[in-house]
Amino acid sequence: MRILAYIIKRVLAAIPVLIGVSVLTFIISHAIPGDPARIIVGPKASKEAVETIRREHGLDRPLPVQYVRYMKGLVQGDLGQSIRNHRPVTKDLADFFPATLELTLASLVLCLAVGIPLGILAAVRRNRLADHVARVFSVIGVSTPVFWLGLMLLLLFYRNLGWLPGSGRVDITSSPPAAVTGLYVIDAVLARDWALLREVLSHLILPAFCLSYVYLAVITRIVRSSMIAVLGQDYITTAKANGLSTARVIFKHAFKNSLIPTVTIAGLSLGELLGGAILTETIFAWPGMGKYVVDSINSLDFPAIMGFTLLASTAYVVINLAVDVLYAFLNPRIRY
């Protein structure tokens, strides 16, 4: 019950943040010089056509009026129509968001699966060779330009070795699975199409690796440092003094404690992964939000930009909420 009240409270607290996000997005996106009406009608159209469109979309109104109108729609779950293609923005988001989400989640899994053991190794063998190797390996990730890595991976595994398929979520000639969740892995499982599942997974490997490598260092570093901090705690000494094996001390006692800061960072990273997927998506022709939003900015598609940022921010808020709840499960000291 307490936790429910806590969640409600957190959700309510998120509202001003989201309003802030919407105001900021609105201001910034409208500060980009350019005329969306002109973009709709095309460059060669006459001035009159531009004016008509501007009126039609309410772009001639003062900004605050436009904002209020937008927010009114938002309250009713209407994110407006995309200026570019006249589709409800919600539909566009529903089309593109699952791809990004799938990629992001896959990267997160990869990131944690590699980053946590690496961080533990580095902490346990602190200042020894393994530590240095683990840290350099992970830090190379942060500092490698994503597209360089992405292209090299494609060149190597697709063109030269032929081990993995090229870009995209499925093979060029395959149809995507029937959309249920939009996450192809899950949809393929639901459809019991195992061949397709294999295909989908093999398409995920390279982009997920490429994206996760960037955040690997962050996870490794935080696991390492929190692990080092935890290993210096009295209860670790106690556990050792009580004759528990090293493995138990590290993987049970130290690990759960070091997870506490790790989930926080992992949550934040997931947020960043969501936003950071743009370049990866471009290279791997991944039909996600990245390209959509860049195109939106390029065509001053305000409703689309707003829709995207609000969705991303909401995702961020939701993730953080989830992290906080998880945090409470991990850390019994948390009281609400």
């Binding site: 050792k240 009580n242 004759g243 528990l244 138990r248 404690n257 019994p332």
Partner: protein, 326 residues
């Protein structure tokens, strides 16, 4: 006399620091007999904790390293024991409790989880057998409602309860030696009284030997049979408790006893001049000489050996010769 339970001989421990190597223990000697409570007193940083941790070989390394000496426990040298044997010994034959009951229990697991784990690390026991053992032990340290304590997380317990849990956990495998590193320093006097009473009772009932580390002379006086006084990484005096208070031999011990307030009210307290030497660059000879009012030339150059002044009373000071005369 039978061989002592624990016999620490010439133990030296050092730590690597940024300023240089700190020689934190320098040929320290100490014995603990079966069934006795041995007090270990000394100022902050003199190496009491390091000494007791060295017995369990849980000194963090790096930066610490045991440079020499032997630690004989029931006749076996712990320093040369294989790792797995050492691990088995910990918690089962020798266990330890620490100063901070706050931090000594893992905050993210329930008390029961941690206690059962200790039981099952040392003997084959089903979950319910382990639980029974825990309940019994918690009752023995006079915790009301052991069942709910077992289900509680450490932060839900008060300091005194936590320390009792620690004691229960340390004694659950029925060890023969308990290393207690200032277990009551963080507690209030009224609670400290309870804990000391429990320890005394358990020591008596289970024939337990305790190495009790403290800086509180009052606690020593109330609880211990024998006392070892440490100064700057060395044990400078060992005696039975009466002798230490009544006839302190080492000038440092004398200063220590004299500076306790409240033995008589009002007036100036005796204060030992100067401060503790730096373990990185300790003075030659007797480590106390530059604070000692009676220091002689010998004290500055020659490190004094431990000599027996009277039976059961040894001291490392040049003021005493083999015959125990001052």
């Amino acid at each position: 006399m039978s061989a002592p339970l624990l016999d620490i001989r010439d133990l030296s421990v050092s730590f690597r620091t940024y300023q240089g190597r700190a020689h934190v223990l320098d040929r320290a000697c100490l014995t603990v007999n079966r069934g006795e409570v041995m007090g270990l007193v000394g100022e902050t940083g003199c190496g009491k904790s390091v000494l007791s941790r060295a017995v369990l070989r849980i000194i963090p390394s790096p930066p610490g390293s045991i440079d020499g000496g032997e630690i004989l426990f029931e006749g076996r040298d712990l320093l040369t024991l294989p790792r797995t044997d050492m691990r088995r010994l910990r918690g089962e034959r020798i266990s330890m409790i620490f100063q901070e009951p706050m931090n000594s229990l893992n905050p993210v697991f329930t008390v029961g989880n941690q206690m059962r784990e200790v039981v099952r690390a040392h003997r084959k026991a089903s979950r319910s057998e382990a639980t029974d053992a825990c309940l019994e032990m918690l009752a023995a340290v006079r915790l009301p409602e052991p069942g709910s304590v077992l289900r509680a997380y450490p932060h839900e317990l008060s300091g005194g309860m936590r320390q009792r849990v620690m004691i229960a956990m340390a004694l659950i495998c029925n060890p023969s030696l308990l290393l207690a590193d200032e277990p009551t320093t963080a507690l209030d006097v009224t609670v400290q009284g309870q804990i000391l009473a429990i320890l005394a009772e358990l020591a008596e009932r289970q024939g337990l030997s305790i190495l009790f580390v403290t800086h509180d002379m009052g606690v020593v006086a109330q609880l211990c049979n024998r006392v070892a006084v440490m100064y700057a990484g060395q044990v400078v005096e060992v005696a039975d408790v009466q002798s230490i208070f009544a006839r302190p031999a080492h000038p440092y011990t004398r200063g220590l006893i004299a500076s306790i307030p409240g033995r008589s009210s009002g007036g100036e307290l005796y204060a030992i001049p100067g401060s503790v030497p730096n373990p990185i660059d300790p003075p030659p000879g007797c480590r106390f000489h530059d604070r000692c009012l009676k220091a002689t030339g010998d004290c500055r150059n020659v490190a004094p050996e431990m000599i027996r002044v009277v039976p059961d009373h040894s001291v490392a000071c040049h003021l005493f010769n083999q015959d125990g005369l001052s």
